[in-house]
């Protein structure tokens, strides 16, 4: 069974669930949720054992799809995050249903499957058309998901903002695609790379197109100055959706960005150095604009949103460091590594938030006060998550940052490195603020918190993953670094 078939099957499952939910209103959300999880898990298993080369794809799709390591990695990534999000939704359901119109969560279980498929296709995309279509599949589904808790003013507001700004970015993206096409005469990444390596191609047209296109993609990955939507939307959206957005959507954005940059910054590209400059400027700006305002946040959810902006900045900076002659640290693998480590820590953070919410607590830092007393395990797990987000050594988060720093220093991008360091320092501050709150003992006459065994298991597994990756990253690197055929056609 080819990977494409699995994806198609997953999409069908999503549609089927949608229909079932619509026509069989008395079906319990538990059944729906478990079906979705089981389906995705099955897809994951099948995906692992499916043939992993482009030749296995059906012929009609082969011009637009590819199965390189990057694609495979992100596909797996998408499946995992989808399972986690579905499960988180189920865990938060009692609380979420208070804000939905009919007290149901039907689409919350079907749309993530569709999003997942969109992300998986994005990972394989070989040309801009596929990118656009799968990206929009994801985005449009997210419009629904973000605004899902319609009775909550926050969710609705987040939905509206995401809708308008998302649509605006779509417009920019398409316009950029148009100009890239105009400059290179092709939509496929290989063709673009070839054309850009050709000195005869009009440089300013290509630059204009690339710039506009990158603006559009920048919006998806929350790069400054296109990041304003992130805090508002993340804060307003239901927590599982926020987790999905911050991990899944961002990862998808980055895989596209990686592919686009592979083409734009191909060996001998006429616009390579400008794009690199763009990445450095935007990356530095992003880490700062993500970190500095975060220091003043009182809501943990919003804080995580800012933190996710700042992480996007590090990733952009990593992308700016293309392969250097001296050290074989390709930016693509660094980004993949960073995202792989980013997954457990972010999901764990949002999981904690969701569990707090499910227990009727708020999302403010002050609601975290005394958590260590109320539920030591949760506090410990959250500590691990935040420590990793802050980039403390012996957690997975440190390695990712270290690679970014190494890359920047290797290329001699001192300005960007300083920005990254300032942002990391600010990061210490706001993550520690939260950690500190959890262990504060004042005013902790509140009752103990309990959460379900599966929640414990999942959270524990994530925390363990963070710690293990932090001290023994070799397996992950082995997965990522087995020689990926460069997406360049000479």
């Amino acid at each position: 069974m080819s990977v494409f078939t699995i994806e198609a099957g997953l999409a069908l499952l999503g549609l089927a669930l949608l229909l079932v939910e619509a026509f069989k209103p008395d079906i319990s959300r538990r059944t729906l949720g478990l079906t979705a999880i089981a389906g995705t898990a099955l897809a994951l298993v099948l995906f692992i054992f499916a043939p992993h080369d482009s030749a296995s794809l059906p012929g009609f799709i082969r011009p637009w799809h590819q199965l390189d390591n990057l694609a495979l990695f992100y596909k797996g990534f998408a499946l995992v995050i989808t399972i986690l999000v579905l499960w988180l939704t189920l865990e938060c359901a009692p609380y979420l249903t208070r804000f939905t119109v009919d007290g149901k969560l039907g689409e919350m279980f079907s749309l993530p499957l569709i999003v997942c498929v969109g992300m998986m296709w994005m990972a394989s995309a070989r040309d801009l058309v596929t990118v656009f279509v799968s990206l929009e599949l994801v985005t449009v589904s997210f419009y629904v998901l973000v605004a899902f808790a319609r009775k909550s003013a926050f969710s609705l507001e987040a939905g509206v903002k995401y809708l308008i700004l998302g649509a605006l970015s779509t417009g920019v993206l398409v316009y950029g695609i148009a100009w890239i096409y105009g400059a290179t005469g092709t939509m496929s990444f290989d063709g673009i790379a070839k054309a850009l390596a050709n000195p005869a191609t009009s440089k300013s047209t290509a630059l204009f197109g690339a710039a506009v296109l990158l603006c559009g993609l920048g919006f998806k990955v929350a790069a400054a100055p296109f990041h304003m939507w992130v805090p508002d939307v993340y804060q307003g959206a239901p927590t599982p959706v926020t987790a999905f957005l911050s991990v899944g959507s961002k990862a998808a954005g980055f895989v596209v960005l990686t592919r686009a940059l592979d083409a734009f910054m191909v060996e001998g590209s006429i616009i390579g150095s400008e794009i690199q400059g763009f990445l450095l400027v935007v990356g530095s700006l992003t880490v700062l604009l993500g970190s500095l305002p975060a220091m003043f946040q009182t809501s943990v959810k919003r804080l995580l949103a800012y933190s996710s902006i700042s992480h996007a900045g590090y990733l952009l900076l990593a992308l700016a460091c293309r392969e250097s002659a001296r050290f074989d640290l390709s930016s693509g693998s660094v980004v993949a590594f960073y995202l792989a480590t980013y997954l457990p820590m972010t999901v764990l953070g949002f999981l904690g938030l969701g569990l707090m919410r499910a227990n009727g607590l708020g999302e403010d830092i002050k609601d975290f006060a005394g958590l260590a007393k109320r539920n030591p395990l949760l506090a410990l797990l959250m500590t691990i998550s935040f420590a990793s987000l802050a980039g403390l050594p012996l957690t997975a988060g440190f390695l990712g940052k270290l690679f970014v720093f190494l890359g920047l220093a290797d290329h001699g991008y001192w300005g960007a490195l300083s920005c990254a360091i300032i942002a990391a320092a600010a990061g210490f501050y706001y993550y520690f603020k939260t950690i500190l709150a959890m262990y504060t003992t004042e005013g902790t006459d509140v009752p103990a918190l309990a959460f379900s065994a599966p929640a414990k298991a999942v959270a524990g597994a994530l925390a363990l993953a963070i710690l293990i990756l932090g001290v023994y990253p070799k397996p992950l690197q082995n997965v990522l670094m087995s020689d990926r055929p460069a997406v360049v056609a000479k």
């Binding site: 001296r326 050290f327 074989d328 640290l329 410990l380 420590a387 403390l392 050594p393 012996l394 440190f398 390695l399 270290l402 690679f403 720093f405 190494l406 220093a409 290797d410 490195l417 360091i421 990391a424 320092a425 210490f428 501050y429 520690f432 950690i435 500190l436 262990y439 504060t440 003992t441 004042e442 001290v471 023994y472 990253p473 070799k474 690197q477 670094m481």
Partner: protein, 486 residues
Amino acid sequence: MSVLELIIALPLLAALAVGLGAPARAASLGASFINLILVLATTVQYWGKTGLAFTYSRPILENPSLSFAVGADGISLILALLTTLVMLAAIWQIEDRPPIFYVSSLLIGGGALGAFLTTDLFFIYAFHELALIPTFLMIALHGRAEPAQRKAVAWKATIYLGAGSLVLLAGLVWLVLEFSGGSKLTFDLEALRSQAQLNPLPAAKQAQIFFVLLLGFGSLVSLFPFHSWAAPAYATAPTPVAMLHSGVLKKFGLYGLIRIALPLLPQGAHVEWVQNALLLMLLGNILVMGLVTIHASRLDDTLANSSVMHMGYIFLGIAAGTDLALKGAVILMFAHGISIALLFGLCGRMRNQLGTLEYNKLGGLASHAPAFTVLFAFGTFASIGLPGLTNFAGEVLIFLGNFTEFKAGTLTSLQWTVILALWGVVMSAVYMLRAYRSIFHGSPATGLFMIDPAFSQRVPFILLATTLLVTGCCPWLLLNLMKSAL
């Protein structure tokens, strides 16, 4: 598998066990006691050897090449000994406290051991950070001040040490980039060192990197002017944390300079602008902080500031960079660690019993608590630099080390600094004796009641005091561990 791995793992595992509900005191004491025995046995085994021993390496990443590599030479063993001694004492002196006190002490100790006994830059750095976190948390959560104030203090320390660590990280990254041979980045200290010997950098560049490292390591050691976190943090920190951080963890920065910066950048410290900057900063430590300490009116302030001040002498040893001075610096690190831990431990007891540390409210305690007084006197005179206690040996070697290259009639800036720094020895006598006099001498102040701790509670302090005496009378015990030239 190397015994060093066991030494590193034991406290961390014990911390985990206590966290999961094992009996806190028994587990922590047991682990730290076994650890002390292990380190002592390792030291005995190392006796007479030179170079790195007990090495073992487990690769964890191929590119950049990272591995969990352990190894110890004389310096690391001396510091490991310091760590285990102070850890045992710090844990032992905890009384009626929640398990988090034990956990944090074990984590700080384990982190410090990890930093001292691994030979991969990545883990050296990482273990140090691991030890820092409980420090902050404990200051913020269980500090001896109003919640708002102790949080402010903890934040200050966090910002300083966090920023310092990041600067340090930048410096280490720079080192790694400069000295990684071949196409792979490596964090292995030995590999970097051999590369540094093969292809030394030009002196100007060495100076730049050294300076970055100096700032990074320096702010961890409260090098002037990056010191203002230290005094409030130590004064506020719960006793075991103050003991462990000021006694052990702070030595990490110095250890790093001696172990990492100096061997890789042998000329870096001696380029004129770097050296002058370092000398100015360390004079700031000694003279400015000496005066600030004299001004202090509470025991915890005095101890905290004095601990900042004494770092200046160790930096002086590093600035000189001669064999004699560096060995002196290592001995002084050991000595200062033991003595300040002793003093902070006793200070904590006093605060518990008396509720105040203001000099003008204290007096005449020697009549009430003679044994306590004797123990405190050990700490006092050690930090004054009295011969027969370890600090003296370290200080005198540092001073001598600065004079090994000397031409009659001309003093270098280094040597002028030594002369100024010697005045600091006078100052430290002034404030320590003032403190001693106002606490223990005179007629007992009214309303103060303090009795000697029971013998079992005296043990940790006796352990530290005995160490000071033994290594003070026989500093060659420590010097024999550092036979090869540094």
